[in-house]
């Protein structure tokens, strides 16, 4: 999403430079074929617009609807979390065919978060499961105390991941852990 936004605003910037530059050149009379005394909506354009009535208005309505749809997509994209779709809920059929057990993904992520929050030094854990059951991606974000040591943290996280796999039957194909250290470390009292 960040890269897409960057490309979008670079393109918008280039378009604004081109549009503003051309309009400024026209305004000072540097653009051939443009009379600085003519109004912004010149008479030939107005006549042409009236000749196309009402089709021109319907085309405007169509273009506006397309822009509204693009706006909706853009808005939804910003509100959506990056990384792709979350894993579907787990579903187990009873051996005798009578009934089914469904384990929601939020139950799995919630349990793993709680497990990780018990690791010494971890203050908060947020876990996401992405992709499909046969090779999901697990993303964890750990907020840890300022004095936490990452090498000491890693084996505990590995244990938590083993417990997750044993419980859920899911073996994450990709594990991505981001650690954020507390911004305000505990100061020594002297």
């Amino acid at each position: 999403m960040d890269a897409a936004n960057r490309v979008l605003w670079t393109i918008i910037g280039v378009v604004l430079i081109a549009a503003g530059g051309l309009a400024a050149a026209a305004s000072v009379g540097w653009l051939p074929g443009v009379n600085t005394d003519s109004p912004l909506l010149w008479s030939e354009l107005i006549e042409q617009w009236r000749a196309w009535d009402p089709w021109a208005l319907l085309v405007v309505a169509g273009v506006a609807l397309i822009l509204a749809w693009l706006g909706w997509r853009l808005t939804r994209g910003q509100l959506h979390r990056s990384g792709g779709p979350a894993i579907p809920d787990l579903s187990f059929d009873a051996p005798d065919g009578r009934g089914r057990t469904v384990v929601g993904r939020s139950t799995l992520t919630g349990a793993t978060e709680q497990d990780m929050q018990h690791i010494p030094g971890v203050q908060r854990a947020a876990v996401r499961l992405l992709g499909e059951h046969d090779g999901p991606e697990l993303r964890a974000r750990l907020d840890v105390g300022a004095d936490a040591a990452l090498p000491a943290l890693a084996p505990h996280v590995a244990d938590a991941l083993s417990r997750f796999s044993a419980t859920s039957g899911l073996g994450p194909e990709l594990v991505d852990v981001t650690v954020k250290l507390d911004d305000r470390p505990a100061r020594r009292v002297e």
Partner: protein
Amino acid sequence: MRAANRLLSLLLGLVLLLGGLLVAVEAVLAALGQASLLIPVDRWYEFLTETEVGDRGVLIVSLAVALLGLILVVAEMRRWPPTRLPVHLEAADGRWWVARRSAENRLESAAEDVTGVVGARAKLRARQGRWRIGVRVEAREGSRPVVEQAIEKTLERLSPPPDSSVRLRLVKPRRVA
């Protein structure tokens, strides 16, 4: 910058969505010969047919638009600091990262914990999988070994990739009046 971009895109999306719907409705109403709902079409028509291309206002707005575009392009083309840096852990499953700003804060705090050191500023960047660590502190030259030791100790906890480079710069402490 990432958050600003996201906010700008969200605003642009909402403007396109609501503006597009409004213009579509207004255009259909105009095609049916009905009065407009919200857009003062007559006033806009009057303004656009009475304002000349050479007007000073047109020039100022055009230059402002071009300048805004230039600011956007420069801001987007700049190299942005990474939000997280890769961590090298032997006994770890998967890929590990540390949030850059929090690691910088940790290094700054570690340097400032040394007696006589103030105004620490840490800058972390990643290049080719290695960290480039820059720390600037206000301290006397004699404090260098202790500050280096404090930084090294902190880095042991952060586990940067091997061959990461550390550059410590000491500047003379400012006198407090």
